[in-house]
Symmetry: C2
Subunit: 380 residues, 2 copies
Amino acid sequence: MADELKRGLEGVLVAESDLSYVDGEVGKLVYRGYDIEDLARGASYEEVLYLLWHGSLPTAAELDAFAADLAAEREVDDDVIETVRALAGAGERPMAALRTATSMLSAYDPDDEADAGEATLRQGRRITAKIPTVLAAFERVRQGEEPVAPDPDLSHAGNFLYMLTGTEPDDVSEETFDMALTLHADHGLNASTFTAMVIGSTMADVYSGVTGGIGALSGPLHGGANQDVMEVLHEVDASSKDPVQWVKDARDDGRRVPGFGHRVYKVKDPRANILEEKLRDLAESSGDTKWLDYTTAIEEYLTEQGLVEEGIAPNVDFYSGSVYDSLGIPVDMYTPIFAMSRVGGWIAHVAEYQEDNRLIRPRARYTGPEDSEFVPLDER
Amino acid sequence: MADELKRGLEGVLVAESDLSYVDGEVGKLVYRGYDIEDLARGASYEEVLYLLWHGSLPTAAELDAFAADLAAEREVDDDVIETVRALAGAGERPMAALRTATSMLSAYDPDDEADAGEATLRQGRRITAKIPTVLAAFERVRQGEEPVAPDPDLSHAGNFLYMLTGTEPDDVSEETFDMALTLHADHGLNASTFTAMVIGSTMADVYSGVTGGIGALSGPLHGGANQDVMEVLHEVDASSKDPVQWVKDARDDGRRVPGFGHRVYKVKDPRANILEEKLRDLAESSGDTKWLDYTTAIEEYLTEQGLVEEGIAPNVDFYSGSVYDSLGIPVDMYTPIFAMSRVGGWIAHVAEYQEDNRLIRPRARYTGPEDSEFVPLDER
């Protein structure tokens, strides 16, 4: 047994997985061997969930049954909505509200607690179906509006936008949001997925794993970068500077431009390419090209400056913020939407790991004092 | 970079820690160098929290200030109690209810969300103070009684028993429960502590880390063994067999006796020795020696059978159940009480890790298909 310290577990192989693979050198992401571009363009988020959870893309009949089962699980108990109201009233942050509401859902789950491992996919389907409902309810209550009940006839993506705004989205909005969900559904063993696996390895129910995953994703070192990009774009807008001039000045001040560079990708993130295209569609459809103009100008400028050649290329977050903003989604809901998509991956990894489960329990090297002599309180 | 698969991360060193050390060969557990026996017998749980969080045992003045700060944080917002009522009404399991209520507490925390790392110990103190309040409230509501407000003049241990039962505990009960809290406060990098660290490594707030830890501890492969022991003792009792005969028959049927054997300890768990003593005190004080008689007889019999020599010795769970039962605590609250103690260790590990933080992100070996050819839905 090597006693080498593996800080951050970098490079440590903890499991085998059939779920997703990232090749950062060529900018490739696959789910079960399918290229993310093919899936984003050709499959719905429901098909992607089926693929991740059941191992293959569904036939039309399989998809109909699966999507109907998922849609039938969207409603949440009134008690959960009451807690969501309390959280909104207390000014809770959206990710923390989502963590609490998701944890609470387990109280209303019909599965027997003793069946944790076997029930993972059934409970996971319920969680995935209900997360959009609690998120949209939180957002509406926070805005002083009443929650909108889910519509089982709409797609997963379309229903979320409907519950958020109260009106059915147009086709380009629904398609774009569906694509964003597919793009974020899985990405190897990031910190939130690993959190869900560690929790799942105790054979705790998948509500515990997903709640833990939401907690991990809420950390500024994990989720939240798309929010940073959008905040910068708003800052550019408010500055009334040309975006390229703003970036020049920001870099002169030693600021890093968010949305560029990735721990894994050394070339442009394949997800960024797809979202850039959708941002273009949205801009054409609405006639408002501001974010498209800004992001295009900034990407061109930073590419000219040689950043992309150095491996600091646009990542998925560089475009997702503008896309969400164009869909009318508030900035602090971006990370919760990431969770709403990634929950599919968390559940898939927990289910896969539990099939050949082993409790995840590393060690720490003890560096504290030896043989401290105990002195009672009255002699200290 | 070795590409060896480290299943369960067994033996992998992920961090250095000054907090606790377990020597399973000689049956030794230390917190910051202090022997667990000295701490359990000579220090209160509040002193142990101070030791784990601040690095040394407090002076009398430091302890007064620390305990007063902790006691002042016991009350929880009415909204949280309302959610606890809803969870009890829905028949939620105690660990899941604790997970939800703890997550919800963050909505009422006065610290700024941007200060996650720096705020860990302040927020941790609030969480540690409030967990007993939500647990006792849940238990009372579940029993059809009203929650009892915390009493800031009682100790952490004494106040919990008071909130649970509505009457101030006698000295031996308070001392015993305080000792049980100290014994469970930390134990190296178990799965729940590691979960809290992984979440904390994203610089998420400590509510996320503790909520994740509770989720991990709820798994049957982690918490819950003291509950198993008590269930067996009740089964023995109901069988009207002699306990030794019951164990003989159970072993003939291939059943494992819970509370014996531990992944780390090869000799009798030092925590078991201390709890055995307290069980004796409680039996003397109440005159009811049943659980003491049963556990003593079973331990003697299994020792004679050579189990202890083979390294399958009584662990902490073998005695803790009987102790909790003697204090009038229901069986399904044992794991939540474990959480109520271990939260001190979770917070200490998160705070320690964040001081020299590095995002925890291992890898998975991709074993899925390569280059799957995408076929559109209407051609599948």
